[in-house]
């Protein structure tokens, strides 16, 4: 069993009239158990050069249980504020990652159509990093 920890901190000294400090720590485990996830794709980097759809995680090509506790991390490494990638889950738009933004979310991977994809806003070179933690 592996131990993988995800930690989140959201802070602001001036968004509200009082300081905001929000923290969460999660141990990434298999669905419904205390057993840590044991599989990862490792940190990957993808350079895009078109505004076409890029499939980051092709559900049908991955050997993994459906409807489990998989987790995905994606970051847009662009430094140009206007450049974004749109994340979709099975074709449904989740949101836009602008330059420097990251996302971390669970992935059900419930059927073969449940791919995780991105669509860049620009056809010039744009780089993202991504990683999947999953059950075996």
């Amino acid at each position: 069993m592996a131990t993988t920890i995800a930690s989140l901190n959201i802070t602001s000294t001036d968004l509200l009239s009082d300081a905001l400090s929000l923290s969460a720590i999660a141990t990434l485990t298999n669905a419904g158990s205390a057993t840590g996830v044991t599989q990862t794709t490792g940190l990957a980097r993808k350079k895009t050069e078109s505004t076409s759809l890029y499939i980051l995680y092709d559900r049908s090509a991955l050997s993994m249980p459906a409807a489990s506790a998989h987790k995905i991390y994606i970051k847009n490494l662009s430094t140009t504020a206007a450049e974004f990638v749109t994340i979709t889950v099975a074709g449904e738009e989740l949101g836009r990652l602008y330059a420097g933004d990251w996302a971390f979310f669970p992935w059900s991977a419930h059927d073969d159509a449940n791919d995780i994809s991105i669509t860049p806003s620009v056809s010039s070179a744009l780089t993202i990093e991504h990683m999947l933690f999953f059950e075996s």
């Binding site: 131990t3 993988t4 001036d14 991390y73 504020a81 099975a90 738009e93």
Partner: protein
Amino acid sequence: MATTASLTLASADIAGDPVSVSKTATLTKAGTINDLDQSTGLNRVHLRSTTNKTLLTANTEGNDLAAKVYIINKATDSSLYVTVTINAQTVGKLYAGNFMFIPWSQTDTAAAIEVAATNWTSSTGDIPVEYALFHEDTDFLTNA
């Protein structure tokens, strides 16, 4: 004004070499370096229904604007999870202690973020969920 979100992913033993990813994002308005300036604050609801409940109602004025959503399942029973959906598409399951932080497009009014305590029963007890939205100028209603 600046609101930052930092994520660390760390494991000493999930791979042959340690995994250590640490990233910080400053939450800005779409396509600019201007900071996001509005938030719902941290909300807490107790779910006791296996059917979807709307956590954040989509507002089409928010389409093409920047919005970030944080959701955490505060249950302590590892078997209890909430299913998160957008426009009826299941994104994933948040098990006890799990959190997510995502951008949210609000492409149309159907793009609400919904949650369901999918394996809740009257004997499991409520599943507490906390969430916050950071966004640009538009109105939001919550009715979980």
